[in-house]
């Protein structure tokens, strides 16, 4: 069982100027380092990464369902750079992965299914597919991507934060629907308890190391499909080892962004996110926001960090 040592969540807000809609790689690098600094406590970045990633391939699970609102390339590149520089990772041991090549490609990623370099591929690559063993947790019975079961030792979940008309919210836990072969079976009852059960499947639970939620541009309504009129800037990353706590803070942020845009709460709309409590019952993490240590860090253009506020 995944044991949460600390339910500590960093919310890193960027206050510098940036051009256009996207953060640069270097901005993301600074944000990730700042957030990890909070999550790591007394450990240095290098010490922390050595503990978290003691060797073996690291997978980076993106969310590329909608090409215009997918995990940004610059964010994954920033994390790859940090893993290489601070954890001593070789590029050959890093795999950016998704459900399909098609989704990655449409989101702008350059596929690489070769044997060298940072790999970037979908489970649908002919030689990969799903492990033909059914794994069970609660009502979920699924086969899991071989990328997760056989190709990596550690997984870092890098989704985006957005509204989801069925699940209520799509962030970290919901993103792991992209690791199983039959996600369509598990959307009833606002994805509860299914999202929790899916994250409790052995390889997903045991290989999870870190959640980094991109909340720079938050689609607060009409998700999960792309709805440009329902996007608000929050300019933040949410970072935690605890996948439930990360989602719990993300939900708080999503609800507040909805409120400031005049939208009803998810609960009022019958889309309350119920799977977080289920996840806590399974020991996956902390779903009570009062018991989560949230560090809000304001990061300036020059990389200087100060204490910030959620809103």
């Amino acid at each position: 069982m995944y044991i949460v040592i600390m339910s500590r969540v960093a919310v890193v807000k960027y206050f510098g100027d940036f051009l256009g809609e996207k953060f640069s790689v270097s901005v993301y690098e600074n944000m990730i380092k700042a957030g990890i600094g909070f999550v790591a406590g007394n450990l240095s970045l290098n010490e922390y990464f050595k503990q978290l990633f003691p060797g073996g391939a690291v997978g980076i699970k993106t969310n590329c369902l909608t090409p215009f609102n997918a995990t940004p390339l610059n964010l994954t590149e920033a994390f790859v750079n940090i893993l290489r520089e601070n954890a001593g990772y070789d590029e050959n041991d890093l795999i950016i992965w998704e459900r399909t090549n098609h989704e990655l490609k449409k989101a702008g990623y350059t596929l690489n299914a070769a044997s060298t370099g940072v790999r970037c591929l979908g489970t649908d690559v002919a030689t990969i597919g799903y492990d033909r063993t059914f794994l069970n947790s609660g009502k979920v019975n699924s086969m899991v991507s071989k990328i997760l079961t056989r190709m990596i030792e550690h997984n870092v979940n890098i989704p985006i934060l957005k509204d989801h008309s069925i699940a209520g919210m799509s962030a970290g836990l919901k993103n792991m629907y992209g690791a199983i072969h039959n996600p369509n079976k598990y959307h009833d009852n606002n994805c509860s308890p299914y999202a929790a059960n899916i994250n409790n499947l052995t390889p997903i639970r045991d290989k999870h190391r870190l959640t980094i939620i991109d909340a720079v541009k938050v689609q607060y309504d009409n998700g999960p499909g792309y709805a440009p009129h329902s996007i608000d800037s929050y300019n933040s990353l949410i970072i935690s080892e605890d996948p439930v706590a990360a989602d719990c803070v993300a939900l708080e942020i999503l609800n507040r962004i909805r409120a400031r845009n005049g939208k009803k709460s998810l609960k009022e709309l019958g889309r309350e996110v119920k799977y977080l409590d289920e996840a806590e019952k399974l020991g996956l993490g902390q779903a009570n926001i009062a018991k989560i240590e949230i560090g809000v860090l304001a990061i300036a253009e020059d990389g200087s960090i100060s204490e910030g506020k959620l809103f």
Partner: protein
């Protein structure tokens, strides 16, 4: 399609279907290539689905089956084979079967529908339920991009049937309801060319699409998985009542109906359940609707249970017959005498079956040679 290509094509389908049933199917999930695949395509279809409505708050509601999935942009229904794209709903499997084979009609099973003939059998990926005992789970519980699909539009199916003199098309293996549009168009086109169509289904479909479909079908076999709602909830992830309603609707139509009941140890094999089953059929459908009591083999998510003991099947047979059902068969027990058809009036053997070898020796057209009783069904 020339003869050589066709033979290769059918060979592929046969391999797939046989290995699927024996559990030896190659690891196609994820795309391991089938060495003999022909006209294999990775493209999915984008044919607009029928029976859905756009919701005022956005998204769509699928109206093909009682599940009535509400689906937002880029999401799929429970079946995994239909997708909302900008609030237009598409079937992704139109003309893209992943299993194709020519089977004896008895394999469906139909025992009163042109016995001894063959059926061009096909299925696409996906299913609108999730039976824990599914024997074809590797296609039914997959999404279409996870199976090897052939490009086979309705016209090509008709051509193949005519070339091979196959009189019937069977929509089978997975759940035809989820490839409704493909099935409907093929059945409609088949009728224009004198090719019959039969559906092998779990019967989890709404009345309106079923009613339209029945206009183009000649026979339906329904898997009635249990006679209790709890079983459907726990082991099917569906509901019983819509299936029972559908059975009544089919019986009231001109379409021939047979029923399969898979007997699973400890789950649906009590005397009470067999009695309830037989009485429901007698009261709502009639005693002349054939029922096949089939032996369960451990599959998919029910590998913890043993195969059904023959004594259980014999008990089920006795109860159904004692309740007055006239055509009760045992399935998945090759060469058992209850595979054959007997005249309910005089007891003479009408159709002898040994595995898939069928001999219609005791009938003249649709009557018992011995006593003249009319036997229900479709016969030459």
């Amino acid at each position: 399609m020339d003869r050589r290509k066709f033979m290769k094509f059918i060979g592929c389908g046969a391999c797939a279907a046989m290995s699927s049933h024996s559990g030896l199917l190659p690891e196609f999930l994820g795309g391991v290539q089938n060495a003999c695949a022909f006209d294999y395509t990775r493209e999915l279809s984008s044919v607009e689905a029928r029976y859905y409505k756009k919701l005022p708050e956005g998204g769509i509601e699928c109206e093909i089956c009682p599940r009535r999935c509400r689906i937002t942009d880029l999401e799929r229904g429970y079946c995994g084979s239909r997708e909302n794209r900008g609030d237009t709903y598409y079937t992704l499997v139109y003309g893209l079967p992943c299993a194709v084979n020519i089977d004896p009609i008895e394999k469906k099973p139909f025992h009163h529908f042109y016995p001894g003939t063959s059926a061009f059998s096909l299925a696409t990926a996906g299913c609108n339920v999730n039976c824990k005992c599914c024997q074809n789970w590797d296609i039914s519980q997959s999404r279409p991009e996870q199976t090897e699909n052939f490009s086979l539009p309705p016209k090509d199916i008709i051509d193949l049937c005519q070339q091979r003199k196959v009189p019937t098309i069977a929509y089978t293996y997975s759940e035809p309801v989820i490839f409704y549009e493909y099935m409907y168009d093929t059945a409609e086109l088949g009728h224009k060319h004198g090719i019959k169509s039969v559906m092998i289904s779990g019967g989890y479909i709404n009345p309106e699409p079923l009613g339209e479909l029945l206009k183009h079908l000649n026979a339906v076999k329904i898997d009635l998985k249990a006679i209790r709602e709890t079983y459907y909830k726990d082991y099917v992830d569906g509901e019983l009542k819509p299936v029972l309603d559908g059975l009544i609707q089919i019986k009231k139509s001109d379409v021939w109906l047979e029923i399969v009941y898979l007997v699973i140890p400890t789950l649906n094999d009590s005397d009470d359940e067999f009695t309830e089953l037989a009485r429901w059929i007698k009261n709502y459908l009639g005693v002349d609707v054939p029922i096949h009591l089939s032996r369960f083999y451990p599959q998919y998510l029910l590998k913890n249970l043993p195969p059904t003991p023959q004594t259980t099947l014999d008990r089920a047979l006795s109860i159904c017959r004692a309740e007055g059902l006239e055509y009760v068969y045992l399935g998945n027990i090759p060469s058992h005498k209850a595979e054959s058809t007997y005249c309910p009036k005089c007891g003479e053997m009408l159709i002898e079956r040994r595995g898939y070898r069928t001999s219609v020796s005791g009938m003249s057209k649709n009557k018992c040679k011995s006593c003249g009783k009319i036997i229900p069904g479709r016969f030459f």
